[in-house]
């Protein structure tokens, strides 16, 4: 576990302003550089940051325009900006219902996924058993499954189980894609918990499961949170399963609902933009709350073993 515990910004190292130190070029210490070089770097990063942020700000801006064709004349929006689109979306459409659906499905996926991924992650982290490598491999290969090959048979399984158009069914199929990665992630996390803790638990007479449940799970809470957030964010943004398995419009998730806006409201882009903004805000906040841990978890799981 030598990766990414220290991200930029998680520590603020003392920076020496380039002008403060007058030193001949050859004696420059590492990390200091000439003024033009620093300027160039700021220029590159600044440009990249603008490109990264702009589309998101743009949709905010479009959402303020009262007319559906305003996106073609963005200059006009500034003068007549209004929050009417937001109140219309919240008040007169199925937005809140879809929001609730998304919330149920995403939390369900997170809860169920982490619950079953955790014990598997622990098993593959701590125990060497025949079948360990095939299991790890199948977790990786599941990442490669194109939706197209699974979606037709899944459709039939769900139909046979009477789970089409139900939250449970969507949670289940979402879990199929998030669980392998969560297990992988949690294995990486469990690997960082010292084995001595397990041994102490065993000496005190706990079963392997008791050790896992009483000692390791509480210690792994940050890892569990990361896996849960990963599952939540994935389910929140999932499109193909949700648009295939949720048949009636009162079961749509936001990702699907947003897509129907385009046809349903005759391409009322302003309303769609407002909806997009409303969808983005909660998960973006969530993302920023966990991003540092998410990154550590992702790369720890990825760069290990």
């Amino acid at each position: 576990m030598s990766t990414t515990t220290d991200l930029p910004g998680s520590t603020t190292r003392p920076t020496v302003p380039p002008t403060a130190v007058k030193r001949p070029a050859k004696a420059r210490r590492r990390g200091e550089r000439s003024r033009p070089a620093a300027l160039l770097m700021h220029l590159a990063l600044g440009l990249a940051a603008v490109v990264a942020v702009f589309p998101v700000l743009w949709i905010f801006y479009i959402a303020l325009g009262p007319d559906k064709m305003d996106y073609l004349h963005p200059g006009g929006i500034a003068g007549k900006a209004t929050l009417a689109n937001f109140s219309k979306v919240l008040g007169q459409t199925d937005f809140l219902k879809w929001f609730g659906n998304s919330l149920i499905v995403s939390s369900g996926t997170a809860l169920f996924g982490v619950l079953i991924a955790a014990s598997t992650g622990y098993a593959v982290s701590r125990m060497k058993f025949p079948g360990l490598r095939p299991l790890m491999w199948s977790l990786l290969i599941t990442q490669m499954f194109p939706v197209a090959v699974l979606i037709v048979p899944m459709y039939y399984i769900l139909a046979n189980l009477n789970l089409l158009d139900s939250y449970g069914g969507l949670i289940l199929v979402n879990s199929a894609t998030t669980v392998p990665y969560c297990a992988w992630l949690l294995k990486g996390y469990f690997d960082t918990v010292p084995v001595e803790i397990d041994e102490a638990g065993r000496v005190d007479g706990l079963s392997p499961f008791g050790t896992f449940w009483r000692l390791i799970l509480p210690l792994a809470r940050p890892g569990l949170a990361v896996a849960a957030f990963y599952a939540f964010l994935t389910a929140w943004a999932e499109v193909p399963f949700a648009s295939t398995f949720m048949l009636s419009s009162d079961k749509y998730t936001l990702a699907v609902g947003l897509n129907t806006f385009v046809s349903q409201y005759e391409s009322q882009w302003n309303l769609m933009a407002a909806t997009a903004v409303l969808i983005a805000i909660p998960v973006t906040v969530l993302f920023y709350l966990v991003q540092k841990n998410l990154v550590t978890g992702l790369t720890a799981g990825a760069a290990k073993s």
Partner: protein
């Protein structure tokens, strides 16, 4: 002797627990991945469409009437009449798409990670802004791109301002491809950037100091310290990048819709179109595409792993 018995007993109890603890995932993956995969393979050997697959209308149950056709679907997809337009043109574009996107995202991600790793004022702010495309769900940002790329949208307004040609991003085939690559790269850079940044920070500073002592130039330090240090992380992000880009559904599906824009459909979206986007739904062909896709990825991963192993690296 007792020690041996004890060891057998202990290993049995360990295995027992290991299997019990791995069971939930194995069951879920078995039901939702292995069984569908088996069923999918079976469907590829039949002529199943939505017309002849058993279904229930009201109280009447109509049984399956599709029949077994052997490998006919595969030969039809790969070599049948019009197979170039149906399969190979999409195959070529899928490969072009995957390679271009992965090269672009990796290159840009590496460049930005290197910049962010420098001691620079405001790099936290830069990092937070650069992560935005990852933080906001892609179906939201793809809509924003659709607005910006539309005829008369922001991008073309800027191009006309600069007296440059204004392609029809969402309609002209070549421009559609460029637009798809642009949006996918925009969405994909943050993950790679952040992972590589993590990798960069794991490289011990002493290595750089030693290299500098030996008189290595900046390029030599990059070539002989940075790149080898990044290799484990790179191996993983490139593998994941290839898999994810190859299977990228959301961006193309939402940017162009599934019905128009046949030229820009990669194999995954094309297979979805066959299975769910048309009437009658051609389940057998769609599943055939799926199995072919999966085979391509497995072959790729096997070779990639072998290549990594030859260079003393593994991604798994």
């Amino acid at each position: 002797m007792t020690a041996l018995v004890q060891r057998v007993k202990r290993s049995y109890s360990t295995y027992w627990y290991a299997y019990a603890m791995a069971a939930p995932v194995v069951i879920v993956l078995g039901v939702l991945v292995a069984y569908p995969l088996g069923r999918g393979i079976y469907l590829t050997l039949t002529d199943a469409t939505s017309l002849n697959v058993g279904h229930t209308i009201g109280v009447n149950h109509i049984p399956d009437t599709f029949k077994f056709v052997g490998l006919q679907n595969y030969s039809d997809v790969l070599f049948g009449p019009g197979s170039y337009d149906r399969f190979w043109s999409h195959f070529i574009w899928t490969i072009e798409w995957t390679v271009t996107c992965v090269v672009l995202t990796y290159g840009l991600g590496l460049g930005l990670a290197l910049l962010l790793n420098e001691r620079l004022r405001g790099r936290t702010a830069y990092r937070l802004m650069l992560v935005v495309p990852w933080a906001v769900p892609s179906f939201v940002t793809v809509f924003s791109w659709r607005l910006m790329l539309a005829d008369g949208g922001l991008v073309n307004s800027l191009l006309s301002f600069a007296h440059l040609p204004q392609p029809s991003w969402l309609e002209d085939p070549l421009a559609q491809k460029a637009a798809a690559i642009l949006v996918n790269t925009w969405c994909g850079v943050p993950f790679i950037m952040v992972s590589l940044l993590g990798g960069l920070q794991a490289i011990p500073g002493e290595l750089y100091e030693a290299a500098e002592m030996d008189g290595a130039s900046a390029w030599q330090r990059f070539r002989h310290v940075t790149m080898p240090g990044l290799r484990p992380v790179s191996a993983t992000v490139v593998l994941l990048g290839v898999i994810w880009t190859f299977n990228q559904f959301t961006i193309i599906y939402l940017l162009f819709g599934s019905t128009n824009a046949p030229d820009v459909q990669i194999l995954v979206t094309w297979a979805y179109q066959l299975g769910f986007g048309q009437i009658p739904r051609d389940y057998a062909q769609s599943a055939t595409y799926g199995i072919i896709l999966l085979s391509i990825l497995i072959v790729f991963t096997t070779f990639y792993q072998r290549w990594l192993r030859r260079n003393d690296q593994t991604a798994v």
